[in-house]
Symmetry: C2
Subunit: 430 residues, 2 copies
Amino acid sequence: MKNYSLLSKDELEALKKEFEAKYEEKKGLGLKLNMARGLPGAEQLDMEADFFNTLNPTSEFKSEAGIDCRNYGELLGITEARKLMGDMMSISPDNVIVFGNSSLNIMYDTVCRSMILGVCGSTPWCKLDKVKFLCPVPGYDRHFAITEQFGIEMINIPMKSDGPDMDMVEEYVNNDPSVKGIWCVPKYANPTGITYSDEVVRRFAALAPAAKDFRIYWDNAYNIHHLYDNDQDNLLEIYAECCKCGNDDIVYKFCSTSKITFPGSGIAALGTSKKNIDFIKSVITIQTIGHDKLNQLRHVRYFKDFDGMKKHMKKHAVILRPKFELVHKKLEEELGGLGIGSWTNPHGGYFVSFNSLDGCAKEIVAKCKEAGVTMTGAGATYPYKKDPFDSNIRIAPTYPPIDELEQAIDIFVLVVKLVSVNKLIEEKQF
Amino acid sequence: MKNYSLLSKDELEALKKEFEAKYEEKKGLGLKLNMARGLPGAEQLDMEADFFNTLNPTSEFKSEAGIDCRNYGELLGITEARKLMGDMMSISPDNVIVFGNSSLNIMYDTVCRSMILGVCGSTPWCKLDKVKFLCPVPGYDRHFAITEQFGIEMINIPMKSDGPDMDMVEEYVNNDPSVKGIWCVPKYANPTGITYSDEVVRRFAALAPAAKDFRIYWDNAYNIHHLYDNDQDNLLEIYAECCKCGNDDIVYKFCSTSKITFPGSGIAALGTSKKNIDFIKSVITIQTIGHDKLNQLRHVRYFKDFDGMKKHMKKHAVILRPKFELVHKKLEEELGGLGIGSWTNPHGGYFVSFNSLDGCAKEIVAKCKEAGVTMTGAGATYPYKKDPFDSNIRIAPTYPPIDELEQAIDIFVLVVKLVSVNKLIEEKQF
């Protein structure tokens, strides 16, 4: 295929005509397809049926430590759940709090707590004139929404192939005391799919923050969400690196089983230094008497241990792999060499990141919507929903059944071509 | 029995000797008994075994509205759970948000949200010089702990036999714009066991707050937690009363199934005006993607409807009634007529409230502890843990098996006698 930028205006006009006709045809189908959010598909959920056997009327409801999981208590989580989630985060159970059903909720509360009560004794952020967070972009929209809600200023940090631009991160963190945090999805990043290199992790661990209440918000959401048995990314464990640098308190690690068992009915956890744990415990002991220990018990009994969880993830991979492969194949076949877009081919996680020609993303998403394909909103991967290039689109291929995914991606590539051709024609007119 | 205040110093000294000997004997038993917290007992938890059958591998996981409860979404809760909890609160499902496992957590977050973001557009409380809450006393320690953590000034409001002193409540609420809330447990109150009268509820509904962001925090934790089939208290539904007065937004109703199914693994809900719901929804949509819908489904399937829940509560009453009756009997038999204490005889809830002679509560709790009986800390039922009379002690008879409860209450009455006699002797010396 010829690169579209090399085509004449007439050639582009001819393509435009062709794509428009095809697009009208697609619109006529009245489809309703969804590639917007990182939801597991029905097949994945059905696979978990045995989960509903883990606790039954004849079960023993005592934890290993003899706690009756049906009653109040155990604010930090039952021992075996702390161990399971600790193993998942490669951190000691003593450094883990198991919360409720949502790691997003833990992150929100962590920022919220810092706003009102500060961090381990620091000035509450709501008393400060200015609080800033660094936001590697493109990134996760729900992270940005948290900091936006609290009026925290967000600063874009470009993502490179091995992680955030660390020169920029160091410059900000080590010099600006109003910089209190950075949002990270360090493995199979949302949406780029990349994994931070060892070098990047080490530079994070070695930061010398100007603010003593600066923390790295390490949302390892896709830790064990590999697509392949062999081609797996490896992420250096950050907490141990931080400790080596004497930066024990600098990182909060978040994880959940939302995309391992059930979104909304999983368990979520925080892993961090003893000092941070003690402070957070002193606050949350007022917020709740404890989280859902029966659900903790279900998870521990279902997986037995972290090895069981990893084995289980292979079953998810079997379902997800063909979806990602289909997206990749379609993008390569239909858009390869045209010079109108680039995309990622991740080894894990839940997303493919697509970059269109500058100034086309909004139009592409709108036209997909018109033809019955819902994508993540253009701009969503940037703070304040403002993509300065209007270029990044997050593709979430996991939810639709594979035949619907194929229909959706067919429409997507067609729309990309149509909008790009329009853009190129427009440019030729000046 | 003769009123102790009428005894001579010698008679008191003789009693002291007798009680001290008995106390030493009890201490020698090395007991470990707990009447501290309102926990259901093992028998109650065992009764719920069928709960673990409600979802099994062959279940249908779709909600009535066709939502797959195993996946993300439904921020406000599934329709049938909103209905169940709405029925429990006598409020329309449209006015209900079903949250996670803890109504305390909802209350905490509600205060926390007001601190940072205000209430429906009002100034965030953290930007104000002074924020105050009214605290009917004695009351629930965990309520007071929330407002204390956020640095909110707490004002004691005496509890009368029909609810808080409403003259005082009106005086504060209608004149002081820094008064932003009042903590209420309106039925089978913690710890006094009283239920607010219709008149008190109507006066609450008719408040004319100086602060537009004033709200009534109506924690109806013991709504259907009756001990008797006939002697049941009736609480006038407050939201409808508020609406009659044009005060639609003034009340937040909280409830949970913590003491209906399982503490820590129940579901909790908020019931309030559409305007409040909309505001809270706009905030929590950033905090979480949704709460545990599978647990909502479990509850709905277990109870079928509110009638099912009420029937179920009779089973709890069968277990709890003898415990409360035992406590009452022992208090009457051992302390009746002695003039050294008064106590409540509630028709429901989880507590008996005991008032010792002024200046004796701390000593009684400490001496009980020494003899192996853990009580709720003296002072806990007051803001800042400061009981100005050092008199109120909360008895929680639900958790221990009945034979242990008997041992515990025997020690309690003995200690009350001993400490009171000491107190009276001391007074005679001046």
